[in-house]
Chain length 214, copies 2
Amino acid sequence: MEIPPVVIDRLPLYARALSMLEAREREVVSSQELGTRLDVTPAQIRKDLSYFGRFGKQGRGYNVRKLLDELHRILGLDKQWRMALVGVGKLGRAILDYQGFAPQGFRIVEAFDTDPKRIGEQISNLTVKNVEDLQRVLSQNPVDVGIVAVPAEIAQDIIDALIKCGVRAILNYAPIATRVPPGIQMKRIEPVLALQSMTYYIKNAGRPAASARS
Amino acid sequence: MEIPPVVIDRLPLYARALSMLEAREREVVSSQELGTRLDVTPAQIRKDLSYFGRFGKQGRGYNVRKLLDELHRILGLDKQWRMALVGVGKLGRAILDYQGFAPQGFRIVEAFDTDPKRIGEQISNLTVKNVEDLQRVLSQNPVDVGIVAVPAEIAQDIIDALIKCGVRAILNYAPIATRVPPGIQMKRIEPVLALQSMTYYIKNAGRPAASARS
DNA sequence: ATCTGTGAAGCACTTCACAGCG
DNA sequence: CGCTGTGAAGTGCTTCACAGAT
């Protein structure tokens, strides 16, 4: 069955909410309650889950632990994922420092750059390697995901190189439209675009006066 | 007229591509070419633009400069936008350091934290202030946008406080579902969720063998 | 000849509403 | 009685296809 991409995008959201409930030792949750927490309609949640099976009990709701396990399995979150970072400028360093990936099973195991000043440098237990060695390094020790944190001008080349090395998913921080062949996943992280669409909605509201508002 | 939100989300993308073309002194571009660069169908681009007016010339295409100006006006990018950052941990510092906001007219003019060790610290020309003074500081000198880079546990409280201070748009880096009242814009930056949905598609492909691939 | 602007058709996603199970 | 699972209805977005402008 072909599952709508938006559904796949919501599953991690559900998984995260369930993790939180599990940490609080909640045993059961209804689509109603989950929906209120996540700002998603209960019908949406039930429909989304129904693409994958029947995980609930009528009259009761969903067993938190069981549903979380199912979602992890469905999303492939029951494995460790190896990632390579390309670009260790300011942004790249912040990504290496970020404590949010590892607890979810995403480990950065290689870091690359083009700048001779950075190559060889030790950051967060990794030695920065030359991008020219990307192919050699990754063919000996493949990774699943590439994280791109290079200037826009070279982002497409880096992405092409990563894909040649067998990377199947790319998390792209470079602010530019890039293309990947079919079958390769890519998601962009674009704070500026996010801001630029929000301004559309707030541009006419007028900044609140310096005095007002409680 | 009510414009589909997805349309608004694409406009900044068009604007960015046009900026690039303008920098290369391109005068005219067709929906066809723009679409190829951005991986959007030409019909989509024409339809999107048609919500706002008639900007093209039949048989020729769009004047790059003129269309870019129109998009800037439509999106409210012809102004400067004042932003306040809350949370100056590792992530917050990286955001303060980020060179991508200012050139697009987005300036971080205040930084707040709860940690006494950080309050008073000078980072990137800003003095970190106490979150308890948020209300006082922002009522004297309002900002348009709040950037939230605090731990998940306090993100909702911070968001509520920002909205009380007249902030109308929020860029949220905290990994948690939060709610905003109607009329307030919020976009989330969630690299982990992005990874967790991509794994669904690649989980069965099998990691390439250590030797293979050219 | 080329490329826009746009109704109409088509497709994808969401919500409804209720049968059926616990 | 409460809540799931799900066809069917409804909504919103995308693509088609072509009239019309240059």
